[in-house]
């Protein structure tokens, strides 16, 4: 039986932030639609609108050309729409079978859970991926003990256990290995034949071109293109995803060629962690080097291992000395500083004062008993140089706005006069004015001879500010962009692993 779902002119705001301003999507049974867009373009919001997780602000959802309203995820499920979530929704302490059938457990006549029926049905589902499991996966296994890829498979099985007519796969392949992806694609082929519709969200171009029949491209919350996959190639898709003009103007550090003559500040050889698979590069003193790529390709691991926070293998040399970093202190002693990606959880002590936050990494310099007067003076100075707006040093950091709180994080490291700054998406959740201040500051720091390694999820920042950008993909540096090749188009293409042509 042919069914269809259409989303028309969907608008969704989160507070003052527009996530979707004009989202459109058409899905029919028997086809795979790829939903494509850069970071923050609204893909996830779109999928949440059609599976009822968020309620749309304006626009219309049509099921078989009749208007519908999904007030909850349950309502969407009842209409036969299932979602495989990117953030896993399984309960680690429960077994595979319990997770899959949670709230829909088959019952016996006595009102108790029919365990043998559950087991049998689960075995049937598990057999779909039989042969691709790394462990002997059984219905009674506890989910928490499974590797990430098998959790993802359970998530997929859970979604199809509803027997939906439409399945939304939100980055479902990101943690699967190639055999599992193959098997999933075979299954998707079967599902198409049995009158199911699939919405496929992925960042991997080759997967999109293999499996999708149609595409729909989002850019800044707007659907900017849709059509048949056979009428388009990867270059054209990337072009659709890119915005023409950028909101910010950047002032790059002048005369960037002479930096190659400067000594090498940081050299990394074959760095490996759980999500990095052999990364090598070097950075000269005074360079502003960007780290690009989609979220979760190993950028975080790269910065954390350089700062000694997570175990790694490989060689890290700072100013020519190979060192083993076991703790952030080791890195701090060599003049490194890290502005972490999650300000609240990793960068600040929210209920403590601004003073204590600013001096936290530096207390040891203030002797015993601590010279609080000197600390206050230094903190005042650091605050003033960053134009930090505060009621007083004794106020808790929780009283500051996002931008000012981020200045405290930056300030606490600048007070130590670091030689190499590692920045993990420092402008996330920061207002426009403060962003502009940050850009000026980073350029100034580089011209003063400081070296900066800078990950950003905003492509404009990387293109506008950096001397070079290393693009990470699946835990390796897939491409390095610099000079004329450093364009937004090349950056996005490289992020998606589309082709290596942008490389120098």
């Amino acid at each position: 039986m042919a069914k269809s779902l259409s989303a028309r002119n969907i608008v969704k705001h989160y507070g003052g932030v527009v996530a979707l301003s004009d989202g459109n999507l058409d899905v029919h049974t028997g086809e795979v639609v790829a939903l494509i867009g850069a970071n923050g373009s609204g893909k996830s919001t779109m999928s949440k609108v059609i599976n009822g997780v968020v309620v749309l602000d304006a626009g219309q959802l049509l099921l078989d050309d009749k208007p519908v309203n999904f007030s909850s995820p349950q309502a969407a499920k009842n209409m036969g729409i299932a979602t495989v979530f990117q953030e896993l929704s399984l309960i680690p302490q429960m077994t595979v079978a319990e997770n899959i059938w949670l709230t829909r457990e088959p019952m016996t006549g006595f009102g108790t859970v029919n365990r043998s029926a559950i087991k049998e049905k689960t075995e049937q589902l598990l057999s779909l991926f039989r042969g691709t499991y790394k462990t002997e996966l059984r219905p009674d296994d506890t989910v928490g003990s499974l590797p990430p890829d098998e959790k993802q498979l359970i998530e997929i099985l859970k979604a199809i256990s509803f027997n939906p007519w439409m399945v939304i796969l939100d980055e479902a392949t990101a943690s699967l290995d190639s055999r599992q992806v193959e098997r999933l694609f075979e299954l998707i082929g079967d599902w198409k034949g049995t009158d199911k519709a699939i919405v496929f969200i992925s960042h991997r171009m080759e997967e999109i071109f293999r499996i999708a029949d149609k595409y729909s491209v989002l850019r800044n919350g707007k659907t900017v293109g849709a059509g048949d996959m056979k009428d388009i190639n990867d270059k054209e898709l990337v072009k659709l995803m890119i915005e023409k003009e950028s909101v910010f103007s950047f002032s790059r550090a002048d005369s960037k060629n002479d930096k190659k003559d400067k000594p090498i500040c940081l050299e990394v050889k074959d760095l490996q962690t759980d999500s990095l698979h052999g990364v090598s590069f070097s950075v000269h003193e005074g360079e502003l080097v960007g780290i690009g790529g989609l979220r979760g390709q190993g950028q975080r691991d790269l910065l954390l291992s350089l700062f000694g926070d997570i175990p790694y293998s490989g060689v890290i040399s700072i100013f020519g000395n190979a060192i083993k970093l076991r703790h952030p202190r080791d890195a701090m002693k060599r003049g490194l500083a890290l502005i972490p990606g999650d300000r609240a959880r990793e960068g600040l002590l929210y209920i403590r004062s601004i003073l204590e936050n600013l001096i936290l990494p530096s207390w040891a310099q203030y002797g015993f008993p601590l010279r609080i007067g000197k600390a206050k003076k230094d903190a005042e100075q650091a605050g003033a140089s960053l134009n930090l707006k505060m009621a007083g040093l004794a106020e808790p950091v929780s009283s500051l706005s996002g931008g000012n709180a981020q200045k405290v994080v930056l300030g606490k490291w600048l007070m130590r006069r670091p030689r190499l700054l590692l920045l993990d998406d420092p402008t996330k959740g920061v207002d426009v004015g403060t962003k502009a201040e940050f850009y000026t500051l980073l350029t100034r720091l580089c011209s003063e001879g400081k070296t900066i390694l800078f990950y950003s999820s905003t492509d404009e920042e990387l293109v506008g500010m950096c001397d070079r950008v290393l693009v990470l993909y699946d835990g390796i540096i897939r491409t390095e962009l610099s000079g004329a090749s450093l364009t937004k188009e090349n950056l996005i293409a490289a992020s998606l692993g589309a082709s290596n042509e942008g490389a120098v």
Partner: protein, 322 residues
Amino acid sequence: MKRFSIPPPVAALILAIVLFLLSGFLPNSYGSDVKVALSQATNILRLSVFLGVIAAGQTLVIISGFEGIDLSAGSIVTLTAILTYVMVKGENNMVLLAIFVSLVVGAFIGLLNGAGITFLKISPFVMTLGMSGVVTGAIIILNHGNVSGKVAPIMTRLIARPISPRIPIPGAIVIWLIFGVLMWLLLERTTFGKNLFAIGVNRVTAKLSGVNVTGMNLATYSLAGLLAGFGGFLLVGNTGVVLIQLGQPFLFPSIAAVAVGGTLLSGGKGSYWGSMAGAIVLTLITSLLTTMQMPDSVRRMVLGGTLLILISIYGRQQALRQ
């Protein structure tokens, strides 16, 4: 609504003073005799010292966060009190050695606590509760239930007696004041103190700011054990006798004193001044109820109720926290 904020230590102290003044109206209290009133106040302060010192270690582990608590404090107090009693045997020249042993034994037990919590990832509650059992058992084995020993005269002189015949203030109170200043220095004027608050608020931030969280955890529990050990030494100097249950009655009041003093039980915020004030409030209420000849059951109910009321008031003031 927002700006009614007296710091908890001050609030607790005011409460103590008001309660004490009100107690003058009780039938068998000091009435209008200022001299009796003063000596009664001094006595209550003297009794607060032991709870206050035992609450010092508790303050540190509670500030260190991560569900920090030390349930072994009571048994450490008993152990070091007995050790002191047995070692000194009435000899003044053994006192320094006894202090030293008390501190080292306390610190060692604390270190074991810290190691279990840090390396074996046992929750502080379970780890220190278990340790309390182990230490209590060890005390029973070591003594077979009877102990022979004696407190040295110099201990009684310094701890239990007034500092001079003219000034009727017991030595214990002076020791406590000095102790309080040292605790303030430790918490507010050392890198250790600053890092302690940091790990209490957020261990990820602390580590990424260069704080050695593992080392801090070990040091904090060791220090808590050491302070409990010191508490045992002081306590036996006051009582002059030991019993198997000497320290245990101080355990829950030591946690309550920290809470009454406004230290966040979730960690990261607090002061030793607060715990001192808390110790005074709790000791005062207990002794008032005893003066009123209330049965033990009523004393417990009043104490528990007071705690709940105080902490719920602080809870309202902490609305800024999130």
